[in-house]
């Protein structure tokens, strides 16, 4: 991009700015005097002025400067917006337009003397005779602005005389950076370096104030320097280095001056420190406190002006959980109220709807308190990959997306183990060795992709590798060898892939020390299940494997199905429920004396009666009159739970039975229903397992 291109950008910008300013002024004339409108006008003119300066359009810059000065008054409110004023501003804007045209097409600049005088007059009337910005220098008076387009001349004009009065001979310069000179990214070392590059020579360094190491405070400046500067360098050039540092670095010029003293606070600190050292190891408490208070004051003042307003507070997790419990109770109470009102035919009163919305809001916010970004887990992965690289020799690239996705803290905490296992597996078994990858025409370095996203109320985490994919033949053979399936089983690919989750399954020909630690993928699946989630596999031979974890956003609240057993209500966690049906007598098969099976599309599923759990007889005895809820279990496949009826499906807050009563087998906890009654939540896995183990006993009981 050459300078002509850039100038063209400037002129296009000028047009835009002129339009914006005109629109703003029109709005002003129509009575819109708000800060943003005025600021937009100011900014437009300011931007033209900036560009005019940069490109050396003197007359345009001079005029826009005067214009801007008045606009600054308007912005500050020192000049009132009147019709006369907006008229003057609009005229001035036209003049700017003429200036821009002149600059762009090389015409003569318009005669703006009269307008400038008017603008100046309006500005002076405001009583702020000083230009608000002194970069103007002499510019406020139009005569001082050079009429030529020479950028250098312009620069010199703005920066002062081109050759400032330079001393005729080498001269001495002294400096002492105080502690503040290290704030905000400043680095005194660079100043010293710049002085040296100018030809300065360090002739003295005052290190007398450096305290013993124990008393050393990094917030103080202890050193001072003297430099001999060559005659060719002016004081102004040196001062410029320190221009913005202000009082944070003390300066002195000339041989008669010495290195400036240390900052009073620092001196005091150093003095106190040495007194303390002399007094021995036990400092007088009063003195110490006094010293700290004094030290703290400048810091506090700095903190007040510079540092961050607090954006977060720390809350004890236990307090938060207590509040979340309270919110849970609130949800229940609200449901109870709703039910009570429904009984009175008052379901649709407006207040209830308002309460409903508020409770839901509060519940969502309370859940958000516990939400943590998944990056807490993802951030540990690079290190894991480095460790794996050194132990397996496989260098794996990592791609991460969606690390800001938020999950319940408990889920995040408990996710790390299964995730680590999956990643170890992906690197160990999924991604091939470098040689094999090269042979297959792949990038010699494998890639692991981690992603997280929120999808329909769940968080979906994908762990994808670009390795060889699951070797289905080997998995199949292994499953047959382990007796998991029969050799003639005809399984779809997907089901073969899922065999690796079977307990005790491991296909690595040599159990390596990476993933073969006795815990298999079954443990991973168990972990995910415990979090109320599901894990599935998508694998493509030669291209890689993806594990997909679908996790709930929170553990505090679950969906459940309310069923009736006799007079009892029980809650079945919805995550387990596959389907519900009323069986035909022809589908039922007896087995032995105590067990019944139901034929569901060719699969025989044991029927589990819930009587003994509820402690009440089922109202019905014949399964054909009740309802069978088919549930999925962790270790025992499917089971059909026999209940009298399904009455409701709702969200519930889990109350731990252990803390309120005692642990009860096959019961995961309790919850309070809308009618105020307590309902037990069934631990489906446990129930079906114990039923399978002792069917006769339980039937007898």
């Amino acid at each position: 991009m050459n300078s002509e291109d850039i100038q063209n950008i400037f002129f296009v910008e000028c047009e835009e700015s002129l339009e914006a300013a005109e629109a703003g002024l029109e709005a002003c004339r129509n009575g819109t005097h708000d800060g943003e409108t005025i600021n937009a006008i100011f900014r437009a003119v300011h931007s033209i002025k900036g560009g005019a300066g940069a490109f050396g359009y003197g007359p345009l810059q001079a005029f826009t400067h005067v214009f801007e000065t008045l606009l600054a008054d308007v912005r500050e409110g020192t000049v009132a917006i009147t019709d006369d004023l907006t008229g003057l501003l609009l005229l001035s804007l036209d003049c700017v337009r003429d200036h821009v045209e002149a600059a762009r097409f090389g015409g003569t600049a318009p005669d703006d003397a009269a307008l400038m005088a008017q603008l100046n007059e309006a500005h002076e009337k405001a009583g702020t005779a000083d230009a608000p910005d002194s970069s103007a220098g002499g510019e406020a008076a139009p005569a001082a602005v050079p009429a030529d387009d020479d950028l250098d001349a312009m620069l010199d004009d703005l920066l002062g005389p081109a050759t400032p009065a330079a001393p005729k001979e080498p001269w001495l310069f002294h400096m002492r950076p105080h502690g503040g000179s290290m704030n905000n990214g400043s680095e005194p070392l660079y100043w010293l370096r710049e002085l040296q590059e100018m030809g300065g020579e360090c002739v003295a360094c005052d290190s007398a104030n450096v305290p013993p190491l124990d008393d050393f405070d990094v917030q103080h400046g202890y050193l001072g320097w003297s430099f001999a500067m060559p005659a060719s360098v002016s004081r102004e050039q040196v001062s410029e280095i320190f221009d913005f540092v202000g009082d944070d670095c003390a300066l002195a010029f000339g041989a008669e001056e010495g290195i400036p003293p240390m900052h009073p606070d620092a001196v005091e600190q150093a003095a106190t420190a040495s007194v303390e050292t002399a007094a021995g190891p036990v400092p007088a408490q009063g003195d110490d406190a006094g010293k700290e208070a004094k030290d703290a004051r400048p810091d506090a003042a700095q903190a007040a002006s510079r540092s961050p307003k607090p954006q977060s507070i720390r809350v004890d997790l236990a307090k938060l959980d207590k509040m979340n419990d309270g919110v849970g109770e609130l949800v229940i109470a609200q449901a109870m109220l709703a039910q009570r009102l429904a009984d009175e035919n008052l379901m649709h009163i407006e207040e209830l709807a308002v309460l409903d919305a508020l409770v839901r809001d509060v519940q969502e916010h309370a859940m958000a308190f516990r939400a943590q970004p998944i990056s807490a887990v993802f951030s540990r992965v690079p290190r894991l990959l480095r460790e794996l690289a050194s132990s397996t020799g496989k260098h794996v690239n990592l791609e991460v997306t969606g690390e800001t996705t938020e999950l319940d803290k408990t889920v995040v905490d408990r996710l790390s183990e299964p995730l680590t296992h999956l990643i170890r597996n992906a690197v160990d078994h999924g991604i091939e060795s470098t040689e094999r990858r090269k042979a297959a025409g792949k990038d010699p370095e494998g890639t692991l992709t981690l992603s997280a996203e929120q999808k329909s109320g769940r968080v979906v985490i994908r762990i994808a590798d670009d390795g060889a994919g699951i070797d289905r033949e080997r998995v199949f053979a292994k499953a047959v060898a382990n007796g998991l399936i029969s050799p003639d089983a005809d399984l779809p690919d997907e089901e073969i892939d899922h065999l690796i989750f079977a307990p005790g399954f491991s296909t690595a020909e040599q159990v390596s020390n990476i993933s073969g630690r006795g815990v298999g993928m079954d443990v991973v699946r168990q972990n995910v299940k415990e979090l109320g989630g599901r894990i599935t596999i998508e694998s493509c031979p030669g291209k890689g494997t993806t594990f997909v974890l679908a996790l709930p956003l929170t553990l505090a609240i679950s969906d459940g199905m309310v069923v009736q057993v006799g007079g009892q209500s029980l809650v079945l966690p919805l995550a387990h429920v596959v389907e519900s049906l009323r069986p035909l007598a022809s589908d039922l098969k007896g087995m032995g004396t105590s067990r019944q099976l139901i034929n569901i599309r060719g699969n025989f599923v044991p029927i589990v009666r819930l009587d003994h759990l509820a402690g009440e007889e089922l109202a019905i005895d014949d399964p054909c009159k009740g309802v069978l809820v088919i549930v999925d279990t962790e270790r025992c496949g499917q089971a059909a739970l026999l209940v009298d009826s399904i009455t409701d499906q709702r969200q519930f807050v889990i109350k731990n039975l252990d803390t309120h009563f005692r642990a009860v087998e096959s019961v995961a906890g309790a919850t309070i229903l809308g009618n105020g009654r307590v309902a037990l939540i069934i631990d489906v896995d446990n129930l079906v397992q114990s039923e399978n183990a002792h069917p006769t006993l339980q039937a007898a009981a």
């Binding site: 991009m1 608000p132 913005f244």
Partner: protein, 125 residues
């Protein structure tokens, strides 16, 4: 060879951005650009630079605001931030210093002036 110093310029004027890019790249700096404070803040949330060079008067989030927001995060508390402005009043400079600016460059600028100012706050060639 050391990696080039990476500078984020923040300015709402397209011509100023073009000038800055031109002046800085020809001096061996790597240049990233944002159109206002908010965009700069968003960009910095996921990117790193050695120096931030910002205009003051900008829509959405102005230079003072940008500096204050950056200084309030630990990641940027020591980042050199230079102000590039047509103004040079002590009052404005003091405000910038209070906000946490590291240096101040008066517009108009030339390449040498920019380079000097950047060198004053970074290890750069």
């Amino acid at each position: 060879m050391k990696q080039a110093t990476r500078i984020l310029t923040v300015d709402d004027s397209p011509s100023m951005r073009a000038l800055l890019r031109n002046a800085l790249t020809t001096n061996g700096f790597e240049v990233e650009q944002a159109e206002d404070g908010q965009e700069a803040l968003d960009w910095l949330a996921s990117n790193e630079v050695d120096v931030v060079l910002t205009d003051i008067n900008m829509p959405r989030l102005d230079g003072f605001g940008l500096i204050e927001r950056l200084r309030s995060s630990a990641r940027h508390s020591n980042r050199p931030i230079l102000v590039l402005s047509t103004e040079s009043s002590d009052e404005k400079k003091r405000r910038a210093r209070d906000a946490g600016a590291t240096g101040w460059i008066v517009k108009p600028f030339d390449a040498e002036k920019l380079t000097n100012a950047v060198r004053r706050v970074t290890h750069s060639a």
